[in-house]
């Protein structure tokens, strides 16, 4: 698995798309840091954009990479390597490469502008952290969908739909439910709704690092209390981990049973 991971990562990191991805985020970060006097608000703007784009690009990239690699997957399948190791290696190779891209894209401008000591290092690292987690999660979901669907168009469509679901449809349903049940105490529902969607959870984790977190106080003290204790953090991290582990198990199971 190590070898597969290593070379997949080489391959991805060197592709022009990965380079474009890194440069894009570096430029974006630089622009926000230059345009806005307030680094706090640059981080919020960056968060808004990355929480849309990182899952989307991770999804698209993983699907495309998988379908392209079908051409040479037989070469690898013919080697004395277990299928599980092969596909997990490939998945981790893609996801890790994308994670490296995003980490570089976001962090390099921060260090160039010498903001390491600005007191915002914690929120910046949180931003990078949640984006890395989202990269692994959405790559895993997309990779699983691609592995599950031989038909490229269908696989691509489903993967995009999964992204659309988590970034738009889920929130639509969520807000609809909140509106319906607004006569009832909704704090716990609001909390649950934020925890089950990895994008929402990432956004909340990010907001909790900023002053703006006080606005979450509108839902009662539930959020501050929940994330103020280690139980809340453990639960939040467990949810993120589940979003990562479940597709991974799917990848393993699917890779064992399908024909190539």
């Amino acid at each position: 698995m190590k070898e597969i991971l290593k070379y997949t990562m080489y391959d991805v990191v060197r592709s022009k798309w990965a380079i474009a991805y890194t440069v894009f985020f570096a430029l974006l970060t630089t622009t926000f840091l230059l345009l806005s006097r307030d680094i706090n608000s640059s981080i919020i703007s960056l968060m808004s954009i990355t929480l849309v784009l990182v899952p989307l690009i991770s999804t698209i990239f993983s699907v495309i990479y998988y379908y392209n690699s079908r051409d040479y997957i037989n070469l690898l399948l013919a080697q004395p390597v277990a299928r599980k190791s092969l596909f997990l290696g490939q998945y981790f190779g893609i996801a890790s490469a994308l994670a490296v891209c995003i980490a570089f894209g976001l962090l390099v401008p921060f260090f160039i502008f010498n903001l390491a000591g600005s007191g915002l290092i914690k929120s910046t690292l949180t931003l990078v952290g949640v984006n890395i987690m989202l990269t692994y999660i959405f790559s895993a979901i997309a990779f699983f969908i691609a592995l599950k669907n031989e038909d490229k168009v269908r696989g691509f469509g489903l993967a995009i739909f999964s992204w659309l679901f988590f970034s738009v449809i889920y929130d639509g349903i969520f807000i609809f439910l909140l509106a319906i049940f607004r006569e009832y105490p909704l704090e716990n529902m609001a909390l649950a709704g934020s925890i089950f969607n990895p994008i929402n959870l990432s956004r909340i984790l990010m907001l909790m690092q900023l002053d703006i977190a006080a606005l979450l106080g509108l839902t009662g003290a539930v959020f501050t209390r929940f994330f103020g204790q280690s139980f809340g953090w453990i639960l939040a991290m467990t949810m993120l981990l589940l979003w990562f582990v479940i597709p991974l198990l799917g990848i393993v199971r699917r890779s064992m049973t399908r024909d190539f």
């Binding site: 070379y7 080489y10 991805v12 037989n74 080697q79 004395p80 024909d259 190539f260």
Partner: protein, 252 residues
């Protein structure tokens, strides 16, 4: 060495292999022939563990291969399509496969033989189809595996490389290897193969040596034999049979 017993496989409603049995124990070249869709590639993929048979079993050196992967240390495989990760360099790909296999290799010998030492630093995405096929062959042969499985090895090769390939196969045969080749090029088969396995609609239609086959059909060349088998089977298929949708089985 290799024992395939009653292996069957269908993709959806499409029955591709109909309980095929085949043994390969002697050194030498076995050519798998058959029209498009006759199951050549599927049979090879079953052997390589890429396609999981619905029924029957495959043993390699006496052990079942299902769910195993280490037996592939003894097989050098040439995939049908020569495609690689676009952004890797040729030498990186070779190193990669070598690292994955962790076996001694003779890459220099084959790089030299196929005359690709000048392009080792190019990325794979920039190579022509023929060049890629050469790389493909190097990857399949460089580990000196006792069994070689070639799926369409001649695709895209220039005449010089073709001669090279024939010589290499001949050499490997002399070294006592078991070599399995699927191909459409009858010329090539006639020159290298010792044994012919002819697949038709998921069954083994013929299994024997080339001289026997020529004699049986009374033809002077293998190509003519094939044409005669095919026209015969087409006639049989086109004949109205009592509700039998599948091709009637012909055993030799």
């Amino acid at each position: 060495m290799i024992r395939i017993e009653n292996v069957s496989k269908s993709f959806g409603k499409n029955q591709v292999l109909n309980g095929i049995s085949l043994d390969m124990n002697e050194p030498g070249v076995t050519a798998i022939l058959g029209p498009n869709g006759s199951g050549k590639t599927t049979l090879i993929k079953c052997l390589m563990g890429m396609v999981l048979p619905d029924g029957g079993e495959i043993r390699f050196k006496g052990d079942h291969i299902r769910g195993k992967h280490l037996y592939r240390r003894d097989i050098g495989y040439l995939p049908q399509i020569a495609r690689f990760p676009d952004n890797l360099k040729v030498k990186e790909l070779i190193t990669w496969i070598a690292n994955v296999r962790q076996q001694p290799d003779q890459r220099d010998k084959f790089v030299e033989a196929f005359g690709v030492s000048g392009i080792l630093d190019q990325t794979l995405g920039t190579l022509s189809g023929g060049t890629r096929q050469k790389i493909n062959l190097i990857l399949a042969m460089m580990h000196d595996s006792p069994v070689l499985v070639f799926d369409e090895p001649t695709v895209g090769l220039d005449p010089v490389a073709m001669v090279m390939l024939k010589n290499l196969i001949a050499e490997e045969k002399r070294n006592g290897k078991i070599i399995l080749i699927s191909t459409h090029i009858m010329d090539f088969v006639e020159q290298v193969a010792d044994r012919i396995v002819y697949l038709l609609d998921g069954d083994i239609y013929y299994d024997g040596t080339i001289p026997d086959l020529k004699e049986k059909y009374g033809k002077s060349s293998l190509e003519k034999v094939i044409v005669s088998i095919l026209s015969q089977s087409v006639e049989e298929v086109s004949e109205p049979t009592n509700g039998m949708a599948t091709h009637p089985k012909v055993f030799i």
